[in-house]
């Protein structure tokens, strides 16, 4: 067995992050193993009115081009997705995305809880959830839902976070499988990737 006690039954990875998470996300994406098989679905807090630039900035160093999905777009193996500005991003049972303009949650649209929660509902124990640095409690409930449905949960080591409210809120309401630094999360993806080879 590998050091994270993983297996190759996972179907998707979902990542949430807010203030201070950008560098971490860039690092993870830039060191992602080539051909990493699972879709990665990201919900990162962002300026509501800035539609452009973010996905480009993330893609710059990323191994895989990051895209903002269209409403009802099907989730594909090995793709990396980012919740678009000013929309909540949900995953539906048929493995496709749905966008919505519902009220903000925790002052955020996109809200991490919505993306994490719907992923948990659809992928159940076949999901890996990762919550990074951030200044509010968005995502904590979503991480709990992932854990409650049998998924695997990781938060960024609070001491490494620029702002640790987000991972700490998750740690406070649910059991988190791993508390890791970004470098360790990078390794985690490498270990996980090996299981699919």
């Amino acid at each position: 067995m590998n050091k994270f006690n993983l297996n190759n039954s996972y179907k998707a990875v979902v990542i949430g992050g807010s203030a201070g998470s950008f560098q971490g996300v860039v690092k993870i994406l830039s060191q992602l193993p080539k051909g990493f098989p699972l879709p990665i679905i990201m919900c990162l807090h962002r300026l509501k009115h800035v539609r452009h630039g973010f996905v480009e900035a993330l893609s710059l160093k990323s191994v895989v081009q990051v895209t903002e999905p269209y409403d009802k777009e099907t989730i594909k193996r090995g793709s990396v997705y980012l919740a678009p500005a000013n929309y909540h991003l949900s995953v539906e049972l048929g493995h496709y995305f749905a966008l919505s303009t519902e009220e903000m949650i925790n002052n955020s649209r996109p809200a991490i809880d919505i993306t994490l929660g719907t992923c948990a509902y659809v992928f159940k124990d076949k999901l890996i959830g990762i919550l990074l640095s951030g200044a509010n409690k968005d995502g904590a409930l979503g991480m709990k839902q992932i854990k409650d449905r049998g998924g695997f949960t990781i938060v960024q080591e609070p001491s490494e976070c620029m702002i640790d409210t987000m991972p700490k809120s998750a740690l406070a309401i649910t059991q988190i499988d791993q508390v890791l630094k970004i470098d360790q999360i990078v390794n985690f993806f490498k270990e996980l990737d090996k299981l699919y080879r």
Binding site: H49, Y70, S90, A98, S100, E102, E103, I114
Partner: protein, 273 residues
């Protein structure tokens, strides 16, 4: 927060359809579920209590619909879209028609309609255009008709207007009264507000431009497909259809009867009957 399973959600949509004729059976499940849970939370209902209320109290349906539908909207949402409207789409229509008609399908509280009215005013053609604004939610239509919004929403609206690079200041179009922004009545004098359900409603007119932004995201693909056919039928040949910036029609049956005029802002043109 309680939870609700798909079987119960289906019971609810079936009940609303059978008893009231509103058809949510093909709405996207994730947001439909959140909306129903939200109502249960607000009213402190269990699933059974909600179903009983819907069965026994017909007057409750209006409140239910008002909460179920997502009415969140902004003036000049996506300012770049409105700039394209002003600089390309409306001028293109004007080349062929001095007078024309626009339909705002799913107008919610009316911010989009008001934005259009202001845009037309600034282009000096307000009186030549007839606007139709429809929604399924009668409560929200009443708010749209009033052209009155909470002052706290105006900050975002003003910011959008500035990004739209409007001719003046948004303040030119409203006055403040008791914490409300009251827009000039005259802006809405060429607007017909009416209740209309995109799912079950009939085709009621022909248009040169239809805006249906951030409405079809609440539908599943089957329903999007059906509604696109209705829009196709409601458009004159060479008329335009604008949808939300993150929506797509490419996989719809009728997609090949349209061409993409602006992919970034999701503006299509009907080229085939």
């Amino acid at each position: 927060m309680q939870d609700i399973d798909i079987a119960d959600l289906k019971r609810i949509s079936e009940l609303i359809y059978q008893k009231y004729g509103y058809d949510f059976r093909n709405y996207a499940m994730s947001s439909f579920k959140r909306r129903v849970l939200r109502i249960m939370d607000l009213k402190r209902f269990t699933v059974e209590a909600l179903i009983r209320k819907l069965t026994e109290s017909p007057e409750f349906i209006h409140e239910f619909l008002d909460e179920l539908t997502v009415n969140v909207t902004e003036m000049f949402r996506d300012p770049s879209f409105w700039r394209i409207m002003r600089e390309e789409i409306i001028p293109a229509i004007l080349l062929n028609h001095k007078q024309f008609k626009i339909w705002h399908a799913g107008c919610s509280s009316g911010e989009e309609v008001l934005s259009m009215a202001i845009l037309l005013k600034e282009m000096g053609i307000h009186q030549d255009v007839q606007l139709y604004a429809t929604d399924l939610d009668t409560n929200i239509l009443e708010r749209a008709k009033s052209g009155t919004y909470s002052i706290k929403n105006m900050e975002l609206n003003e910011k959008n207007y500035i990004r739209f690079q409007g001719a003046g200041s948004l303040k030119d179009y409203y006055r403040e009264e008791n914490g409300l922004a009251v827009f000039n009545k005259e802006l809405l004098n060429n607007v017909t507000f009416r209740k209309h359900d995109l799912v079950t409603g009939e085709i009621f007119n022909k248009f040169d431009l239809i805006l249906c932004r951030n409405v079809m995201i609440y539908f599943n693909q089957t329903l999007q497909n059906e509604v696109l056919k209705k829009f196709h039928e409601s458009l004159f040949k060479y008329g335009y259809l604008a949808i939300g910036s993150k929506e797509s029609l490419i996989w719809c049956d009728y997609a090949n009867r349209f061409i993409v005029v602006n992919n970034e802002e999701k503006i299509y043109k009907k080229i085939k009957d």
